[in-house]
Symmetry: C2
Subunit: 276 residues, 2 copies
């Protein structure tokens, strides 16, 4: 199957399950508000990683599917909170008004809180086998991972002026969830240490390369010196391209020995080669 066809089918499964989580809320107006940022859509990259990593192991289970839903809930909540006036102050996302523009700031805080909370319910409803995934997701999403990266991003540890601190920021802010997506698939499959390490390496390499590809895209669209620190500003566009290509090669090689790595490899290529 081609990556686009596989992705479209996977996205449809995940989207239906995402929306179903907010059908029985009270009050109903709030349930609709929780569905709004989910319906705004997106590439669903992190759930695709979970499902492609599960496929790489020859694994398919309700637990892997729950992990795909859970990680997208965490990603979506982080965007809702990130868009708030007190954070990035964004009025639009994917051509639609952001949640706080539609429902107000207070409601947007609550929408994000509800999506984050539901991520853990989705996983835990799968029973005892979900426990290592709850730990994995919580550590990746919290102050040791994504939220720690966000805290660096809003300047809570001073200025981001060198490559080390920028990589630390991105390992948290975007890397932690991508690494977690790959690892949750391994944990759901009960993978051995060797396979889990392969998925971890894939996730860490793709997480960094993904951000570099983003920075290259941003640099090509806007050559200015304004904006946040980026790999392109610190390394130059050619070195960033070269580094991203090397990380992609590392990711492809890391999972080459797994039973069915083709879709996971195609996903990495697609994510990184957008602009590299």
């Amino acid at each position: 199957m081609s990556l686009p066809a596989w992705s479209a089918a996977a996205r449809a499964r995940v989207d239906a399950r995402l929306l179903a989580r907010f059908g029985d809320a009270f009050p109903e107006a709030f349930a609709a508000a929780c569905r709004y940022p989910i319906e705004t859509g997106g590439k669903r990259f992190r759930p695709l990683v979970v499902l492609a990593a599960a496929e790489a192991l020859g694994h398919d289970s309700p637990l892997a599917e729950a992990a795909a839903v859970a990680i997208e809930l965490v990603h979506t909540y982080s965007l809702v909170h990130d868009d708030l006036p007190a954070m990035d102050d964004d009025d639009e996302r994917r051509g639609r008004p952001t949640a706080h523009r539609v429902y107000g700031e207070g409601a947007a805080v609550l929408i994000g809180d509800a999506l984050l909370t539901e991520a853990f319910v989705v996983l835990a409803e799968q029973g005892p086998a979900a426990m290592p995934l709850v730990v994995e997701l919580g550590r990746a999403a919290g102050h040791r991972g994504m939220i720690g990266g966000q805290a660096l991003d809003i300047g809570m540890d001073g200025r981001i002026g060198d490559l080390d601190s920028l990589m630390k920021l991105h390992r948290g802010k975007t890397g932690a969830l991508i690494r977690c997506a790959a690892r949750m698939a391994g944990l759901a499959a009960g993978a051995n240490a060797h396979s889990l390490q392969a998925l971890t390496q894939w996730g860490e390499a793709v997480g960094l390369a993904f951000q570099m590809a983003d920075d290259i895209l941003d640099a090509e669209q806007d050559a200015g010196e304004d904006g946040p620190p980026s790999y392109v500003k610190l390394m130059g566009i050619e070195d960033t391209r070269e580094r991203a290509r090397a990380l992609l090669d590392e990711a492809l090689a890391a999972v080459a020995g797994l039973p069915q790595p083709q879709m996971l490899q195609a996903l990495a290529r697609h994510a990184v080669e957008r602009e590299v």
Copy 2:
């Protein structure tokens, strides 16, 4: 043991474990920011409920202690977000500046997010037996419970003008976590359906009575007609007192048949009789 002595010892255990969760965060400045609302203190009523309910069953375990820590993390996060300018806009809590006054609004959003996320990690680290507690806490904390109540509170389902809608609001906003605290102790102990039902009834009755006691206290301090809807405004102070007393009696009776209900009963009396 007297309730104050028992409570002081239980609080010390919970506080030490709460703070330890944010010792290894990156960046360190953010870890300190996460400790700030925890250090602001509080009655730790919800963790005391977990530990007293466990004691009522003759149960004591690391899982029950983790549940006590987790529910206080959820409560503390909800206060940090509730205090935000976009919500209640409170500058002080317990005589100290609120988190957003000290660290800024963006950081306060992230602090709350980190505390909420960590609640699930604390539970899940206890292994497969924690799974029903993760589901219980997530449902109580999310859009089906506390956050749903908050959404009603900020007017997402219209005006709160009658007793039914006020009770619905409080069953979510404050009741869900108190009920959850009692039930998590039962789930940690592997209690049978009868004992779990007794704890559920205790939690639901105390949750409502607790809020009525709060409303009575508020009414006595400020006789004005301003402020949010309250039981006192809708029922009058005498009927509210009578209703709270009846709920307390119901709670005391519900758990009377458990092995060691004394501390759980004393805690209910203390919580409700403050002002009733």
